[in-house]
Amino acid sequence: MSQSPTVQSIAHDSEVVFDNIGMTFDTGAGVTRAVANVSGTIPEGKFVSVIGPSGCGKSTLLDMVGGLLKPTQGTVRINGETVTGPRRDTAMVFQEDSTLHWRTVLDNVAFGLEVKGVSKAERYEKARRMTELVGLTGFEDHRPGQLSGGMKQRVAIARALAMEPRVLLMDEPFGALDQQTRQFIGRELLRIWEKTRNRVLFITHDIQEAVYLSDEVWVMSARPSVVKEVVTIDLPRPRPEGTHALSRFRELEDHLWALVKVEAAKTLGPGAQRA
């Protein structure tokens, strides 16, 4: 098991740093060690994806950055400060539909800013820009009930982007979408990201998606999970339509698949503990 790159030393102000974090759940039915000794840095302006077998604690990792969960060991630091709870410089996009069904698209996009206390004029101005950015112009006054699943996720992405987060946390945001929508909205995300260049932590179990979107892919091991390997995706940006067909793309995909397969086998194999 290779150790992830050294971190502490290079941590400067605007970094997002995992410092040897771990997570243990006491479920009443027994103690589960979900995450063990994860260290790493999300570099400025980089898109980092996390892949790994089901139940390996990918989402747990993300929730810890978002301040929804407190690690039982180690710290997450953003901008030099230890994360102790939800912060206003992080924003999350979830797998499930998290739109507020009683609000219009524009009011949904503005929700995060509204909670932050941003003035009405400013938040609507921003919300309008973000709505346009995610390609929902003309749908500002629609309600989520009138939108498809893919469009609802765009609303969620726009809401998160509007908050101009230091790090954007995405928890399998396309996991509930059908394959076609998923590929389409993945390209859209890349187009948007090229413009904003936010720091992104992206959880997925789709290896192709991870390669296509990311600058770095972290492969997590089976439980108790650690970062098994950090794979740098050296594909040039911007990444047009044909990127999937590049031989380097396939190489990276095969390499990641091989890594994940070993871990998945551990999870699924005989005697393996399943959540």
Binding site: R88, M92, S98, L100, L136, Q146, M163
Partner: protein, 266 residues
């Protein structure tokens, strides 16, 4: 984007189209019942001391409604209902929130609250009369206690039914407690709480009229009971008609409101 167009079209066809024929049939049935009642009472098939012909009820209504007494009765009944419902709402919603917030309390107290549905609280009416006098107070208390229970129970159920992701979302944007309740929880739960609120209002109406009917000094229910005791069948029926009309109006108003809320918030 055609996806939305498509989804919208799908939704509008899925929504039950209004059945104009059904509405017509419904009115024919109701009109038929009234005509049948008219004929049977006029021909003496139904004893006119028992049921008065609808046309006569209408005539009595026309002469009763402009009187000052009717105005006072109606005002008393309506204020009693509104106050009782107001108390039910103001106590019921926080109680529901409490039962949701502290699941153990909800679990432990639920059988007591469920039993509250079957508890004839009107048994306390005589004592309350003695304590508070023959005014609207005792009626308000009993009607409020009837109205509170469905409101509290549905509030608890509705809050429990909120998708966990919304809690997570509110948490992730670090919403303050006030923002959490006002901007996320209550809007999300309103369409589900409303049926309970509606039931609470209907129970306030039922409780108020029933108590007035048994014993009171004023009110529409009181008048109906009084005319029964005075064997004034036609005026009794006129007031029963008022009660029916009032209830149906209240129910239609609430149903309309419910549809609007569902449309806007679901």
């Amino acid at each position: 984007m055609t996806v939305a167009e498509k989804t919208r079209r799908v939704r509008s066809t899925q929504r039950n189209p209004p059945l104009p024929r059904a509405t017509a049939v419904r009115w024919v049935i109701l009109a038929g019942l009234i005509i049948a009642l008219e004929l049977t009472t006029r021909t003496g098939l139904i004893n006119p001391t028992l049921v008065v012909p609808p046309s006569e009820i209408l005539a009595r209504l026309v002469s009763i409604i402009p009187t000052e007494q009717f105005g006072l009765d109606a005002a008393r009944t309506l204020t009693t209902i509104v106050i009782a419902f107001g108390i039910g709402l103001v106590l019921g919603v926080p109680l529901g929130v409490f039962l949701w917030r502290i699941p153990a309390a909800g679990r432990i107290l639920e059988p007591f609250i469920v039993t509250g549905y079957a508890m004839p609280t009107l048994l306390f009416y005589p004592v309350l009369l003695a304590a508070m006098g023959l005014n609207a107070g005792p009626i308000i208390l009993i009607a409020a206690s009837m109205s509170l229970i469905p409101i509290a129970l549905t509030t608890m159920v509705a809050l429990n039914a909120i998708k966990p992701i919304l809690h997570k979302l509110a948490n992730s944007v670090s919403a303050s407690p006030a923002q959490y309740y006002l901007k996320v929880l209550f809007p999300a739960a309103t369409p589900l709480i409303f049926p309970g609120v509606k039931l609470g209002f209907i129970y306030a109406v039922i409780g108020t009229v029933a108590m007035e009917f048994i014993l009171a000094a004023q009110g529409i229910g009181f008048r109906a009971g009084l005319y029964y005791r005075e064997l004034n069948t036609s005026d009794m029926w006129a007031y029963i008609a008022v009660v029916i009309i009032l209830s149906v109006l209240v129910n239609s108003g609430l149903t309309w409101l419910e549809k609007r809320i569902r449309r806007d918030m679901l």
